[in-house]
C-alpha cells in the first residue's frame, strides 16, 4: 500500500498526488513513469511522475481523468492509499548540454515535460518551454515551468489564456525568427507530438517524443506497448518511452490505443452509474475504493 500524503487538483480533472514511495523517490529520473493499480480488481495504468523528493521519500504523480481508473483515482484524497505503485519505469531522458532546447508540454503532458526541462536547465542548456492546453483552466504547472525555463511561451486552443493557437504555432515562430534550436522535446497528446515532429523534420531538428501506448507490466514482459519505430517493433516500457519523433509511426500508435475503446466505454458508464448511485446515498467514492481493496502483503 502506498499512502497519499497530499492530493490537490491542478485543473479540472487533473490532480496531483504526493505519494509515499521511498524506493521510487530515490531512483526517479526525468522521463520515467510509474504503473499503478488502485484496488484488487483494478487495471494497471502508466502514470506520469512530475517530481520526487528522495529525502521525504515521496513522488508526485499527475493524473488526468479519462477512463474509469483515472476518474476513480482522482476521487482519492489525502490519507487514502493506492494498492500498487511500481517504478520508476522506462529509460530516463538523455540529459546533457545540447545548447538550446525547446521543451513542449501539451495538456497533462506538461507534468512529464517539467522534470526533463528542469534537468536540461541544470545541465546548462538554454531552455525555451512551450505549454499548450485546450483552455485557460487546463494550463498547468506555469510557475514550475517558468522557474526552469529561460523563456516560457503559452498557448490555448481557444485563446482564453495567453495566445490563441497551438504549440506548433509557437515553435514555428521560433524557427522563423531564426532561433537556433538543437533539440525539441515534446510530451503531450499523440496528435500534438505528431504535428511537432512533422514540423521539425522539415527543419532537420532532432526531436524526442514520449509515447503512451497501452501497457500492462511495464517491464518488457507483455509486449502490449509495442510501437513501430523506423519500421521496427520496440517496446515503449523498456526501449522508451522516449523515441526519435521522426521515426515514430504515429498512425499505428493511435490505432493500437483504440483497441479497447468498447470496453473502456463500458467501464466508464458503469463508473458513472455507480457514482450517481453513491452520491444519492451520500457515500464517498474514496471509501468505496478502499473497501474494494483485497488482501495484500
Amino acid at each position: 500500500m502506498f499512502k497519499i500524503v497530499h492530493a490537490q487538483f491542478l485543473a479540472p480533472g487533473i490532480k496531483r498526488f504526493v505519494i509515499e514511495a521511498p524506493r521510487i523517490a530515490c531512483k526517479q529520473q526525468p522521463g520515467q513513469f510509474v504503473i499503478l493499480r488502485i484496488y484488487e480488481e483494478g487495471e494497471r495504468i502508466p502514470v506520469t511522475i512530475e517530481n520526487s523528493d528522495p529525502e521525504k521519500g515521496t513522488i508526485n504523480i499527475v493524473v488526468q481523468s479519462a477512463g474509469k481508473t483515472t476518474n476513480l483515482l482522482n476521487t482519492l484524497e489525502t490519507g487514502d492509499s493506492i494498492l500498487d505503485v511500481v517504478g520508476p519505469l522506462g529509460k530516463p531522458s538523455e540529459i546533457r548540454n545540447y545548447g538550446t532546447v525547446v521543451v513542449i508540454g501539451g495538456g497533462v503532458g506538461t507534468a512529464m515535460a517539467y522534470p526533463t526541462a528542469a534537468a536540461l536547465k541544470r545541465a546548462g542548456n538554454r531552455v525555451i518551454s512551450i505549454v499548450g492546453a485546450r483552455n485557460r483552466e487546463l494550463v498547468i504547472l506555469v510557475k514550475e515551468m517558468r522557474e526552469v525555463s529561460d523563456a516560457l511561451l503559452i498557448t490555448t486552443d481557444d485563446g482564453s489564456y495567453a495566445d490563441k493557437g497551438f504549440v506548433t504555432d509557437k515553435l514555428r515562430q521560433l524557427i522563423e525568427n531564426g532561433t537556433r534550436i538543437d533539440l525539441v522535446v515534446a510530451v503531450g497528446p499523440i496528435v500534438m507530438m505528431k504535428a511537432v515532429s512533422a514540423l521539425t523534420r522539415k527543419e532537420n531538428i532532432h526531436t524526442v517524443v514520449s509515447l503512451n501506448p497501452i501497457m500492462i507490466d511495464g517491464t518488457g514482459m507483455c509486449g502490449g506497448c509495442r510501437v513501430l519505430i523506423d519500421g521496427k517493433s520496440e517496446f515503449a516500457c523498456v526501449d522508451g518511452p522516449e523515441f526519435d519523433g521522426h521515426k515514430v509511426n504515429f498512425e499505428v500508435l493511435v490505432q493500437r490505443n483504440t483497441m479497447y475503446r468498447t470496453a473502456e466505454q463500458q467501464s466508464m458508464e458503469e463508473f458513472k452509474r455507480l457514482q450517481t448511485a453513491e452520491t444519492e446515498e451520500g457515500a464517498v467514492c474514496g471509501a468505496t475504493s478502499s473497501s474494494r481493496q483485497g488482501e495484500q502483503r
Binding site: 524506493r23 521510487i24 531512483k27 493499480r37 480488481e41 483494478g42 487495471e43 494497471r44 474509469k68 481508473t69 494498492l83 500498487d84 505503485v85 511500481v86 517504478g87 520508476p88 519505469l89 500492462i216 507490466d217 511495464g218 517491464t219 518488457g220 514482459m221 507483455c222 509486449g223 502490449g224 509495442r226 513501430l228 517493433s233 517496446f235 523498456v238 509511426n249 499505428v252 490505432q255 493500437r256 483504440t258 483497441m259 479497447y260 468498447t262 470496453a263 473502456e264 463500458q266 467501464s267 458503469e270 495484500q296 502483503r297
Partner: protein
C-alpha cells in the same frame, strides 16, 4: 536395474505389478471443460493413488530420480504411498522440491522421470506426476507440516523474481537458516505460475497455498519492485546489507515474427494475452477492470507449438472462440508442448494446422485483423536444433480468416537487470552467464538461474537451477570463498 523385493512393502511381485494398468487421471469431460476455467485434471483419490503406486518396480538404481532436475527420491515416496503414509510421502518429496503441487501438474514427466521409468519398456510408465500431485494436495488438505529451519546464520539473501526458480532458492535457503527476501516486479507473487500458466492447468489457489507455506517458513516477499529500476543489484549488496543475490527474472520479452501486419489490433503476444487473462483476470471483465478483446463467436489462432501456445489457445476456446487453431510450422513429432496438453487440446476440439506458417496478417483497412495469410511447409534437412527444418511449399498460400492471433514463438532476454549491473556477464543472446554447476555469475556474490540463463525452458528446469543455486549460495555464505 533389476527390481528389488528385499525391503519392499509392496505385496505384489514384479510380474504382478506389470499387470496392474496405469490408473487413469479423472478429468472434467472435454465438452464441459471447454467452457470453464476449472482444472482439467481432478486428481487421484487415495485408492487410485495406492493402486498406481503398487506398479513401481522399485529399481535398485532408479533412473526416474536421475532424470529429475531436482532429484526427487521417487522410489521412496512411492513406497510410502503404498503403505498409506501420504504425509510421509509428501515430506520425502519436500526434501528435494518445495513446490510439489505445482510440479505435479506442470512438469513434462514424459521427458523426465516417467520417460526413463523401467515399466515403459513394456507397459505405460508409472504415473509419477499424478502421484506427486496427489500427495502434495493431500498434505495441503491435512495442513502442511512446517519443517523447522536451521539455526539462524545471520546471512541475508536477496532473490530477484518470484517464479519457480526464485521460490526454490528461497525455500532451500530459509531452511538452511539464512534470511531470505524475494523481490517481485508484478503485484502478485509467483511469476510465470501466476501470469503465464492458466487456471485450468494450475489453479492460482494452489500457487497461493505454496507461497503461504513459504511465508510461514519465514520467507519475506516484496512486490512492486523492478530490480534494476526500483533498486539495483549493487544497492542490494552494498546498501541494503544482502550477502548474496540470486537472479531468477525469467525469459522475458516476447518475440514477434517481423512479418507485415503484426501491429494490427487483434494481434497479441502470448505473454500479453495470458497476462490479461491469468494475472489481470480480464476474462471476468467488467468485475475486473482490465479489458481484453471479446472472443465470443470469433475465430482465433495461436502461432507456435509449445506449452504457452496451447495455454493461450485453450484459454481462447474457454472464452467462447468459435474456431480455435494452432498454427505450427513443423509436425506433431517436433511439437515441444507436454504430451498431456496436446492430448487434452485435441479432445477439446482445437484445430491443429500443422506444417503451416503465417507470412502476413491482413487487415480490414481500419487497423483490425481479418485473416492470416499462411503457407504450408514440408520438412527438410535437420537444422541447428536437430529438428527437421520446415521449408515453405510453392504455391501453397491460403488465407485463414481470423479475428485474433496470439503469437507464441518464444521469448528473448529481458535486459533490465543486465543493463543496470556493471560487470555482470551476458552471452550473445543477452542471457546472464552462469556456471552450470554453481549458478555463479561473473559478479562475486551474484548467482543466476532459470530462463534468464538458459532462455525459455520449463518450470522444473528453473527449479533445478534454483536448487543448485541455493546449495552454491549456502556454500559461499558459510565459507566466504568465491
Amino acid at each position: 536395474m533389476s527390481p528389488t523385493a528385499s525391503k519392499s512393502k509392496n505385496p505384489l511381485s514384479p510380474k504382478e505389478r506389470i499387470k496392474v494398468p496405469r490408473q487413469l487421471m479423472p478429468e472434467q469431460p472435454a465438452e464441459v471443460r471447454a467452457n470453464n476455467f476449472d482444472e482439467v485434471n481432478l486428481g487421484y483419490n487415495p485408492e487410485l493413488a495406492q493402486q498406481e503406486a503398487l506398479r513401481c518396480l522399485e529399481c535398485a538404481k532408479p533412473t526416474c530420480t536421475d532424470n529429475c532436475p531436482v532429484g526427487i527420491d521417487v522410489k521412496e515416496f512411492v513406497q510410502r504411498i503404498v503403505i498409506g503414509d501420504f504425509l510421509g510421502a509428501a515430506a520425502k518429496i519436500r526434501e528435494a522440491n518445495v513446490l510439489p503441487a505445482i510440479t505435479g501438474r506442470v512438469c513434462p514427466q514424459e521427458d523426465q522421470c516417467e520417460g526413463k521409468c523401467l515399466l515403459s519398456k513394456k507397459v505405460k510408465p508409472l504415473g509419477i506426476g499424478y502421484l506427486e500431485r496427489f500427495v502434495a494436495d493431500y498434505e495441503q488438505r491435512m495442513g502442511t507440516h512446517i519443517v523447522p529451519n536451521a539455526e539462524p546464520t545471520g546471512k541475508k539473501v536477496a532473490i530477484v523474481g518470484s517464479g519457480p526458480s526464485g521460490l526454490t532458492v528461497a525455500g532451500d535457503l530459509i531452511q538452511k537458516g539464512h534470511k531470505v527476501r524475494v523481490f517481485e516486479a508484478l503485484h502478485e507473487i509467483g511469476g510465470v505460475l501466476v501470469y503465464g500458466i492458466p487456471e485450468f492447468r494450475l489453479p492460482k489457489q494452489i500457487v497461493r497455498e505454496q507461497i503461504d507455506y513459504m511465508r510461514q517458513m519465514g520467507v519475506e516477499f516484496e512486490t512492486d519492485v523492478v530490480v534494476g529500476r526500483t533498486v539495483t543489484i549493487d544497492e542490494l549488496l552494498e546498501e541494503e546489507g544482502f550477502d548474496a543475490v540470486y537472479i531468477g527474472t525469467g525469459a522475458g520479452l516476447p518475440q514477434f515474427m517481423n512479418i507485415p501486419g503484426e501491429h494490427l489490433n487483434g494481434v497479441y503476444s502470448a505473454n500479453e494475452f495470458l497476462t490479461r487473462i491469468n494475472l489481470m483476470k480480464a476474462y471476468k471483465f467488467p468485475v475486473y477492470d482490465e479489458p481484453m478483446l471479446d472472443l465470443r463467436g470469433k475465430d482465433v489462432a495461436v502461432i507456435g507449438g509449445g506449452n504457452t501456445a496451447l495455454d493461450a489457445i485453450r484459454s481462447a476456446l474457454r472464452l467462447g472462440a468459435r474456431k480455435a487453431y494452432v498454427i505450427y510450422r513443423r509436425s506433431d513429432a517436433e511439437m515441444p508442448a507436454r504430451a498431456e496438453e496436446v492430448h487434452h487440446a485435441r479432445q477439446e476440439g482445437i484445430d491443429f494446422q500443422m506444417l503451416t506458417a503465417p507470412v502476413e496478417f491482413l487487415s480490414d483497412g481500419k487497423g483490425w485483423l481479418t485473416a492470416a495469410r499462411c503457407v504450408r511447409m514440408e520438412l527438410g534437412e535437420p537444422d541447428a536444433s536437430g529438428r527437421r527444418r520446415p521449408v515453405p511449399m510453392q504455391r501453397s498460400e491460403f488465407d485463414l480468416p481470423l479475428s485474433v492471433v496470439v503469437i507464441a514463438i518464444g521469448t528473448t532476454a529481458n535486459p533490465i537487470v543486465q543493463s543496470t549491473t556493471p560487470g555482470l556477464g551476458t552471452n550473445k543472446r543477452g542471457y546472464i552467464q552462469a556456471s552450470e554447476e554453481t549458478q555463479r555469475t561473473t559478479r562475486k556474490g551474484v548467482f543466476a538461474g532459470g530462463d534468464i540463463v538458459t532462455g525459455a525452458a520449463t518450470v522444473i528446469l528453473a527449479m533445478g537451477a534454483g536448487r543448485r543455486g541455493a546449495n552454491s549460495i549456502h556454500q559461499y555464505l558459510t565459507t566466504g570463498e568465491w
